[in-house]
Every structure is written in structure tokens, then in C-alpha cells.
């Protein structure tokens, strides 16, 4: 009975979203308050219905109702309770419902937190969000219903894929979706602004905090995915340029460009069309990503089960949403703003360069991801694009980005002098030199890229610290607000990330070898001693557990217990053992038993220095994003006036 109620709730939400999509638009164009308010009531009603639906699906998992086919496919009587919750998004149908839930959550938030927006703008924004939701609900109801029954019901379920039975997988999809779906809000804002011809600086100011929060969540989601892949897949890698990973990375790159473009539009009034296009593109890439991983168009070790019929639906949805908004842009985008020119050397130029580089980067990733499809379509063979393509290009593009970053910090709006800038950057340049030289001598295996990366990272981090110190010693009224502090923290995080990303691959060591109890092997100054294996049991698996004791200079550092698990559904999985550390990780994975008795094992040993810096850097970026979103100026009441031309008064708003 309950699952059927869940289904009815979905249909109810669909009807509401369709209503939300139409009435407020009509209301906005003829000033009808009642119709406009439908947007808000619709958002609230829709959210509660979808939440209800989601709770029902979760309940079916918790009580193990194997008469629901989705539960039977993704769960098992032995599945521990915490994974019954995350199994809800373990595969296609449930993860789509999660997507929809989060979309409704964001829509709900917009309805609640936008009291200060003009009514017609708010109405249009909610209407756009309503249409997005309607499309998704149609998709779920007609092709991906999670509430379908399995009659007669299964005796027991197939079990959740063991790779997903992990704490990382409990939070990674929700956080990723919070970011992914969150870009729908900046998208809706952009479309609403185009529809109402209100592409003003105020419009950008309203949309900035939403963009920051979405971007911060996406950063977190991607970082979690990378960290999870690292410890769960057991091969020491943290990024594979897999199509599914690229699908989440491309919106992130464009989202970063969007944030920068919004800053310029808010403070200077220019780059309006950039901001619009980037807002549309960011969400379009999110939809594209959803399409790529679910349609069977690309093969990936990550992808959901391929189903071309679903693919057709998403593609149609994609064409309507993205094509429609781009067409709207072509027709309604505002003309050039008079005045507000900027010089060759100015913050505006540097941010423009930054955005160009980021767009090229995203285009490069997109090309590499879709190239196999293109060649296949042209019948030129089945190919895959190797990671070095992405890695090399990414590194090459990072060079100008990293070099220009501190210039962007210090540069004044509108016009600046090179001499002054170079003066400011003397200290960071010195720090970069120190960093590079230190790396060269202390870490001989770092190589050219490693040295350059650390130098670049020090260059960035030193300028962040110096800039912060300068700003903090300014007059009390002019101290940095949360927006600026958040920005500094985020950029510092970029530097930290760069240290980890540049160093960890060249400086890591690994060894695959055969070991029997009593064997030891020395890797990077650490002595790994294998003490043998024993059998252990988990709630839904049995495992061989190895014991490794690690020594350094004779002193015991840690004990590691990697496992080779065999789950109740027959699937075998490695659970690597990790000793995390700020400056290095030690990592052991069990391969397979090399003899009948199970006394000799294939073992993988890893020493991975600086790898944590990657995720700590990403977390700092996220923290900066969240902090910036809470800046007081975003909560200022909003003027109902139409577009304001930049005046001297506006120019004074900008810092430094």
C-alpha cells in the first residue's frame, strides 16, 4: 500500500510543478499577485510531497520490503541498517528520486528565503524551477519508477553493490547532488532575469549567495568522490578522468568562472552576458552529465546501467531546457553597457582571462569525454581517450591560471599599473622561489612539474596571506567582510590543493609483490612486515584479513588490517587498510591468495606523501564558498528600481 502512496505523491508533485510552472509566469506578466504567489505555495507543497515519497522509499528499505522491485535489487536481509538508508540512492531510480528531492529542497529554499526579491522576479524564478522539476518527474514516473512491485516478491534481495556499502558513499551522492542541482537556482535566476528583462546588478547580487552555496557543495561532493575512490578502490589513485568524474568536474569549472563573472557584474556592472551564459552553461553541464552517465552513450566503470530509452528522454529534456534558455539568451540578452570601460591591466581583464582559461579547460574536458562518441558516430572505431590527454592539458592550463591568480587579487578595478602590482608581488615571488628550491632539494623525485607546482602553490598561498594581513590592518570600517574573507580562504585552498596534486604522483612509491607470513619489505623508509592472515566475519560478508606492522627506523608506526571480503551476493571486494597522515599516507591492499592454503598473498604497498593536501585544499575552497555566501550585504533589502547605470558611487563599493 505504502509504495503505491509514494507513487501517487510523485504524480501529485508533478501536477503541482506543472501549475507552478505556468500560473506564476502569467501572474508576473500582468502583475497578478495571487497568481504569482502560486509559485511559493507550489514550492512548499511540492517539497512535502516529494519528501513524503522519499520517506516511503526509505521506509521500504528499512523494513526490507522485497515486494518493491527496486528494494529487491539493491538490498539484502543481511544489509546493515546504515546502508539500508544509502541503498535508497544505490542505483538509477532511487538516485533520480534523490535528485528530485534535492531540487525541491532548493526550490523550497528559494521560496522561503527570497522575501526581499521583487514579486515578479521571484515568481518567474520559481516557475522555471517548477518546469525543471516537472520534466524530471515525468522522467521518473514514466521510465524510472522506484515503486514498481515485484510479484511474487523476492525471497531475498540481490544486495547493494558492495562497493557502495561504505560511509563515503552515504554522503557523497547527496552532497554532490546538492551542488549539481543547486546550479539550477542560478540558472533559474538567469532565465527569470532574461524573461523579465531585469538583467541588473541587483539581480546578480541576489543570485550570488545561491551560486556560492551550490558551488561549495559541488566542491565537497567532488572531493568526497575523489577521497572515496582513493580508499575504496584500493589502487592509490585519486582522480581517473573517468566520464562520470568529468561530468561533475565540468560544471564545477564553469561554476568557478560564474562566481568570478558575477563578482565583476555586481561590482562593476559589466560582464552581464558572460554571467548569463555561464549560469546557463553551468546547469546545462549538470544536465548533460546526468544524461551521459545514464543513457549508455558512454561506457565507464562508474556508469549506471545503460538504457537508451531513458537516454532519449533525458536528451529531449536537455535540448528543451538548454536549447530554450540559449535561444532566450540570443533574443533577450541585454546590449553592451555604456561606460565602465576598463584598461588593459585591471582586475576586470584578469578575471576575464581567468574565465577564458576556465572555459577552455571545460571545453577540453568535454572534448575528451565526448570524442569517443564522436568517432563512434562517424564509424571511425571504438576508442577511449587515455588520462594523459586530460592530465597534461589540465596542467598546462593551470600554469597561466596559477601565475595570474595573485595578480587578480591585488589588481585594482578599472585600471592598475604593472609597476605597482609587481611591487606588491615581490614577497609572494620570493616565497615561490623558496618553495621551488626547497622542493628541488628535499624531494628529488618531484621532477619539473612537482617543483613548478609547489612554487606556484607557494606563490598563491603567500599572496593570500599577505593580502589578508594588509586588509586586516586597514581602517575598521574597511576590514574584509565575510565575502572577501571567504574568497581569500578559497584561494588559499587552491594553493594547498596544488601542493598535493603536484607532488603526490611523482613522489609516491608503490610495490606489488608476493608475501608470506614473516616477509617484510622496505618502502620509502618504512618497513612493512606481513604477519599473515586470518578469517573474519562481518554482518553480510566473510573476509580474509591480513595483518601488517609498519616500522620506521626501528620504531613501530602502525598496524594495518587490509581485508579481502566475500559478500553474501558472491561479490568479492578489497578493503584497503590506510594509515592517514598530514604529510603522508601508508596504504596496504590485499590482492589474491597465491596458493591453495592461502599462505602466500599478492600484496600492494603504497607510500603516498601529501595526498591529504588535495582534499584539505578542496575543503578550504568549500569553506570559503560557504562563508562568502553569508556576507551581510546579500541580506540587504533590495531596491525595486530597474537597471542602475554605474556611477561614481557604485564604483566606490569595490574594495581597494
Amino acid at each position: 500500500m505504502l509504495p503505491e502512496l509514494g507513487q501517487i505523491a510523485l504524480i501529485g508533485a508533478l501536477l503541482i510543478s506543472l501549475t507552478m510552472g505556468t500560473l506564476p509566469l502569467i501572474g508576473a506578466s500582468n502583475g497578478n499577485q495571487k497568481l504569482m504567489r502560486v509559485g511559493q505555495t507550489g514550492a512548499i507543497a511540492q517539497f512535502f510531497l516529494i519528501a513524503f515519497s522519499f520517506v516511503i522509499l526509505t521506509w521500504a528499505f528499512v523494513v526490507q520490503d522485497f515486494s518493491v522491485e527496486y528494494v529487491a535489487r539493491n538490498s539484502n536481509s543481511l544489509l546493515p541498517m546504515q546502508y539500508r538508508f544509502s541503498a535508497v540512492w544505490g542505483s538509477h531510480e532511487g538516485s533520480l528520486l534523490l535528485w528530485e528531492l534535492i531540487l525541491c529542497l532548493w526550490t523550497f529554499a528559494v521560496a522561503i528565503f527570497s522575501k526581499k526579491l521583487p514579486d515578479d522576479f521571484r515568481a518567474r524564478t520559481l516557475a522555471v524551477l517548477g518546469w525543471i522539476s516537472a520534466g524530471f518527474l515525468l522522467f521518473v514516473i514514466f521510465t524510472s519508477n522506484p515503486f514498481g512491485r515485484l510479484i511474487p516478491q523476492a525471497v531475498d534481495g540481490l544486495d547493494l553493490n558492495p562497493l557502495l556499502q561504505d560511509p563515503g558513499l552515504i554522503i557523497h551522492p547527496p552532497m554532490l547532488y546538492m551542488g549539481y542541482v543547486g546550479f539550477s537556482v542560478s540558472f533559474a535566476f538567469a532565465v527569470a532575469a532574461l524573461l523579465g528583462q531585469q538583467v541588473t546588478r541587483e539581480w546578480v547580487r541576489w543570485s550570488r549567495p545561491w551560486t556560492h552555496v551550490a558551488w561549495a557543495f559541488l566542491t565537497l561532493g567532488i572531493a568526497l568522490g575523489s577521497w572515496w575512490a582513493y580508499y575504496e578502490l584500493g589502487w592509490g589513485g585519486w582522480w581517473f578522468w573517468d566520464p562520470v568524474e568529468n561530468a561533475s568536474f565540468m560544471p564545477w569549472i564553469i561554476g568557478t568562472a560564474l562566481i568570478h563573472s558575477q563578482a565583476v557584474t555586481e561590482k562593476r556592472g559589466t560582464f552581464r552576458n558572460w554571467t548569463l551564459i555561464l549560469a546557463i552553461t553551468a546547469f546545462s553541464l549538470c544536465l548533460l552529465g546526468t544524461f551521459l552517465v545514464r543513457s549508455g552513450v558512454l561506457t565507464s566503470v562508474h556508469a549506471f546501467a545503460s538504457d537508451p530509452t531513458r537516454g532519449v528522454f533525458i536528451l529531449t529534456y536537455l535540448v528543451v531546457v538548454v536549447g530554450g534558455s540559449l535561444l532566450l539568451f540570443a533574443i533577450r540578452a541585454p546590449g553592451m553597457v555604456q561606460g565602465s570601460n576598463f584598461a588593459g591591466l585591471s582586475r576586470e581583464t584578469l578575471i576575464l582571462l581567468n574565465n577564458l582559461l576556465l572555459v577552455v579547460m571545460a571545453a577540453m574536458v568535454l572534448t575528451g569525454t565526448l570524442y569517443p562518441l564522436l568517432l563512434d558516430a562517424l564509424d571511425a572505431g571504438k576508442i577511449s581517450v587515455g588520462p594523459p590527454y586530460f592530465g597534461t592539458l589540465f596542467a598546462l592550463l593551470l600554469i597561466p591560471l596559477a601565475v595570474l591568480l595573485p595578480f587578480g587579487f591585488y589588481a585594482r578595478w578599472q585600471e592598475d599599473s604593472l609597476k605597482r602590482l609587481l611591487g606588491e608581488l615581490r614577497v609572494p615571488a620570493f616565497a615561490a622561489l623558496v618553495g621551488g628550491v626547497a622542493t628541488y632539494f628535499l624531494l628529488p623525485t618531484a621532477g619539473g612539474w612537482g617543483v613548478a607546482g609547489v612554487a606556484g602553490a607557494f606563490w598563491i598561498m603567500a599572496s593570500c596571506l599577505r593580502y589578508y594581513r594588509e586588509r586586516m590592518t586597514a581602517n575598521p570600517g574597511q576590514r574584509p567582510g565575510r565575502g572577501e574573507t571567504g574568497m581569500i580562504i578559497a584561494h588559499f585552498g587552491v594553493g594547498l590543493f596544488l601542493v598535493g596534486a603536484s607532488l603526490t604522483n611523482p613522489v609516491s612509491s608503490e610495490k606489488h609483490l608476493r608475501m608470506v607470513a614473516g616477509d617484510s619489505f622496505e618502502l620509502a623508509g618504512y618497513n612493512f612486515v606481513f604477519e599473515g592472515t586470518r578469517g573474519v566475519r562481518g554482518p553480510n560478508y566473510v573476509a580474509d584479513e591480513g595483518e601488517f606492522i609498519v616500522y620506521k627506523s626501528g620504531k613501530r608506526v602502525t598496524s594495518l588490517y587490509p581485508q579481502k571480503r566475500r559478500y553474501s551476493n558472491g561479490q568479492v571486494m578489497t578493503e584497503a587498510a590506510l594509515d592517514p597522515g598530514l604529510t603522508r599516507d601508508l596504504y596496504v591492499g590485499l590482492g589474491e591468495a597465491l596458493n591453495e592454503q592461502g599462505t602466500a598473498w599478492a600484496v600492494r604497498l603504497y607510500h603516498k606523501p601529501f595526498i591529504r593536501f588535495i582534499w584539505i585544499g578542496a575543503l578550504l575552497m568549500m569553506a570559503g564558498g560557504f562563508l562568502a555566501a553569508t556576507d551581510r550585504r546579500y541580506r540587504r533589502p533590495v531596491s525595486q528600481k530597474a537597471e542602475t547605470r554605474p556611477t561614481d558611487a557604485n564604483l566606490a563599493e569595490a574594495p581597494a
Binding site: 543481511l78 540481490l158 546501467a305 577552455v360 590527454y389 561479490q571 568479492v572 578489497t574 597465491l594
Partner: protein
């Protein structure tokens, strides 16, 4: 030409040049990193010269997996029905690697026709249940039913 126009022109030229450079590097890098995918039958029809990296896909032929002593070297045969290729891999195989299961190996053929793999991948589709599940599922079904009876 006014200074502004001149600056704009320089900017446009620089940007176009930059994009041009980026595209060239990108295209070159793309070509360098393309890995072709062949099944054993396709390989039989269109042989690939020794030493050229590509990806070989098929099923692991049951009974063909041989580990060499207690070393990390494994040999197995990849088949797609009519044709077969022998693959040799040094290292630990992925968890999903199983006889009768789909596999994709990346590497190159050596002079003797043996495929030396540097990477072996096995994929698990969520919809598709490989037969390995058979025994374990039945076993666990029996186990859980028993415990339900006892409980």
C-alpha cells in the same frame, strides 16, 4: 586607430592566438592518447602491429586462467566466441575479474602474439546479474531462511 581600438585589437589577436595554441596542443594530445578497442574477432580481421597500445575486450574463457607458480603473473584467454587471444598480466587482478566474466585489458601484443596487459578492468552492470551470484545467493537465501525459522 585610436588607442582603445588598438588595445582591443591586440587583445583579440592574443586571445585568438591563445585559443589556437590551446586547440593545437589539445588536438595533438588527443591523437596521442587515443586507445582503440578491439574484440578478438576484430583483431583477427584487422591485426594490430606489435607494440601498439590498444584495449582488448571479451570474456574470460573458463578454465584458461593460470597463475604462474606463486608469482604475480597470470595468463588467461580472452574470447568473444569464435576467436581468442592469450593475455599475460603481472600484478593483482581486479576484484570483479572472474572466469566467464567480461573484461577489458589495456596493453599491446608482443612479437609472439601474446597480449601483454598493463591494466585489466572488469565492469559490473547494476542490472545484469552474472552467474557467480548463483551459489552465494542461494546459500544466503538458505541461511537467512534458517535464521528466520530459528528466530
Amino acid at each position: 586607430m585610436t588607442p582603445t581600438r588598438k588595445r582591443r585589437l591586440i587583445a583579440v589577436v592574443l586571445i585568438l592566438a591563445g585559443v589556437g595554441v590551446a586547440s593545437t596542443i589539445a588536438f595533438y594530445s588527443l591523437q596521442e592518447n587515443l586507445l582503440y578497442f578491439q574484440s578478438p574477432s576484430e583483431l583477427a580481421q584487422q591485426p594490430i602491429p606489435a607494440g601498439r597500445q590498444f584495449r582488448l575486450g571479451g570474456l574470460v574463457k573458463p578454465g584458461s586462467v593460470e597463475r604462474q607458480g606463486e608469482s604475480l603473473t597470470t595468463q588467461f584467454v580472452v574470447t568473444d566466441g569464435p576467436e581468442e587471444v592469450t593475455v599475460e598480466y603481472v600484478g593483482t587482478l581486479p576484484d570483479l575479474f572472474r572466469e566467464g566474466q567480461g573484461v577489458i585489458a589495456r596493453g599491446a601484443l608482443d612479437d609472439s602474439g601474446l597480449f601483454a596487459a598493463s591494466e585489466v578492468l572488469a565492469k559490473h552492470d547494476e542490472n545484469y546479474m552474472p552467474p557467480e551470484v548463483a551459489d552465494a545467493l542461494k546459500e544466503s537465501g538458505h541461511v537467512s531462511m534458517q535464521s528466520k525459522d530459528e528466530g
